[in-house]
């Protein structure tokens, strides 16, 4: 029986970083406001006091260069964690992330390895508008050389982040900004969750729902409602997009014959597009209904809550869309 404790999502992240920094003296964290402030989302609270200036570094607003610096650190013996506040800002560091970090091991013929973790946030819902609310993880999945991790719950976030920090390859770790202040139950003590292992959050026989980040949790709630209508929904959290646990997803779809995907990225060229075509050779003859999905519509996020909320994928929309498949 695992003992559980209640923490916020931000605290769970902070614990992971703290534990890894204590475990390995080569682990350091850098980013804007991670030091004195303890992180804009409170993900580094107390670390500056504990580990000092050299290991918990406040950076200037120079995303591309401090990400490049973290690469220089990673290939000379250190194990940096870089916090880039939003995926929107990752675009500023696109060269270092996608042309350098993702490729340097390959270009060097394997001479170096890059034990680097880049943490960033996705998600809308705070009226942060078009440039602070995007979920751009799909873009990063396109470039070979990165591992992409998208935890759903706080418990998963902690375990997956520890694995990411210990991973000797570049990992992009995607946190959801709306989750930081939410409280969750997580196991006590230290634990890690391996990459490439999807998590079946709820078993069902009528339809497979694959949902990323906190949409997986919303899908479980929607599934409970749908269960009352006699629709038995299976919800799977893929956890890591690269590497993707194809076996678990395929087995589920073979069982249910129906596939619904949900992701908060824009609909066009979404990660769900990739998952469907990736799995299609293995699931085509098992499908009883064309695959469907719920994503953010192809518009920038507007400021006003009256405009923003109707766009964001949520429990209600999941419920309606899935119900429609069965009840027409």
């Amino acid at each position: 029986m695992i003992k559980m404790k209640k923490v916020t999502y931000a605290q769970a992240i902070c614990e992971a970083i703290d534990e890894e920094m204590a475990r390995d003296k080569n682990v350091l964290i850098l980013g804007e406001d991670v030091g004195i402030l303890g992180g804009n989302f409170k993900t580094a609270v107390g670390l500056y006091e504990k580990y000092g200036d050299l290991r918990v570094k406040d950076t200037p607003i120079s995303e591309n260069s401090f990400l490049g610096m973290s690469l220089g650190m990673a290939i000379t013996g250190l194990r940096p964690i870089v916090e880039i506040m939003f995926t929107d800002f990752l675009l500023l560091a696109a060269d270092q992330l996608l042309n350098q970090i993702a490729k340097i091991r390959y270009m060097s013929g394997g001479q170096v390895k890059v034990p680097l973790t880049v943490r960033t946030t996705i998600g809308a819902g705070r009226s942060s508008a078009a440039q602070h609310s995007q979920s751009l993880h799909a873009i990063m999945c396109h470039i070979p050389g990165l591992k992409i991790v998208v935890p759903s719950s706080a418990a998963d976030a902690k375990g997956l982040l520890k694995t990411a920090i210990r991973e000797d390859n570049p990992v992009l770790f995607i946190e959801h900004k709306m989750e930081y202040n939410q409280s969750y139950e997580i196991p006590e003590g230290e634990y890690t969750i391996p990459f490439g292992q999807a998590n079946i959050l709820r078993e069902g026989k009528d339809i497979t729902v694959i949902a990323t980040s906190n949409l997986a949790l919303k899908a479980v709630k929607a599934a409970e409602e749908l269960g009352k209508e006699g629709i038995d929904v299976e919800v799977i959290d893929p956890r890591t997009l690269i590497p993707l646990d194809r076996e678990t997803l395929i087995a589920s779809i073979k069982k249910t014959g129906r596939l619904f995907l949900a992701d908060e990225g824009y609909e066009r060229v979404n990660i769900t597009s990739e998952i469907v075509i990736d799995l299609m050779p293995d699931i085509f003859y098992d499908l009883d209904h064309p695959p469907e999905r719920l994503c953010l519509p192809n518009v920038p996020l507007p400021f006003s809550p009256a405009l923003e909320f109707p766009l964001i994928p949520d429990q209600e929309k999941l419920y309606k869309r899935i119900k429609k498949i069965f009840k027409g």
Binding site: L54, K57, T76, Q100, M107, V112, E167, P194, G196
Partner: protein
């Protein structure tokens, strides 16, 4: 190196990097870069790492005058200066990007002056004078090792040929300027100086040149004898294989 440039299996990077991404990590050569200016922050990070680990290593970042206008130049030097990192920034100012004259696209073409803006020493030297360059570098290293921070060294020089193969380098340059600089060729002038000051004699010079030529020919031979990598190798070395890892 020759094998890598010819795309052979025995190259430093197993044929995967080529001339633009050549690297020998074992010797601390952290790589050439295909993106102008991208190496500057990486070098700065290596300097941070040296400081973090408490070694007396110094990182040296080489780049051209054109890279000094890339954002990474400014961001990196700023951080290196703020945190007193042991790094030396060496700018080979040969006055031209590919075809664009630095003087036409830069407000202040004296790159060394920029150091002032970041609060670090900036020194301009005659890039064609071997000893002057050596001296400036030595000073910068001493400073770095003392924990006093970075230095910007601008080596003023000139590009005798085109930027890349197929660029005659004449379309965008004045013939007179080119001829004047050719006379200041560093190898020629240093050779002449050494001979004049009787540090070395003509025969010894010839022997050195012969040996160098031999080394190069041997390198070419080695490269030409090295096989091309197999197509399957294209899928290797993407990730470091961790024990028990699921790919």
């Amino acid at each position: 190196m020759m094998a890598e440039v010819l795309g052979r299996k025995d190259g430093y990077c197993k044929g995967k990097g080529g001339s633009m991404h050549i690297m020998d990590a074992s010797k601390g050569i952290l790589g050439a870069n295909g993106i102008v200016g991208a190496g500057i922050p990486i070098a700065t990070g290596a300097a941070y790492s040296a400081k973090y680990r408490g070694t007396d290593q110094v990182a040296v970042s080489f780049f051209g005058d054109a890279a000094s206008n890339q954002g990474t130049f400014h961001e990196s030097i700023n951080m290196a200066a703020a945190w007193k990192l042991p790094v030396v920034y060496v700018c080979e100012n040969n006055l031209f990007g590919i075809s664009v004259d630095l003087r036409k696209i830069t407000g202040n073409p004296n790159i060394a002056d920029r150091a002032f803006g970041y609060g670090i020493p900036g020194v301009a030297v005659d890039g064609n004078d071997v000893l002057e360059v050596y001296q400036a570098t030595h000073t910068a290293f001493v400073r770095a090792r003392k924990g006093e921070g970075p230095t910007l060294i601008e080596c003023k020089t000139y590009r005798q040929k085109g930027h890349h193969i197929g660029d005659p380098g004449t379309v965008y340059r004045l013939k007179e300027e080119l001829e004047a600089w050719k006379k200041r060729d560093p190898i020629k002038t240093f050779k002449a100086r050494l001979i004049k000051e009787e540090i070395i004699n003509k025969e010894e010079v010839e022997n050195l040149e012969k040996e160098s030529r031999k080394l190069i020919e041997e390198a070419v031979q080695f490269a030409e004898n090295s096989p091309f990598p197999e197509p399957e190798e294209a899928f290797e070395d993407l990730f470091y294989e961790m024990e028990g890892a699921k790919e």
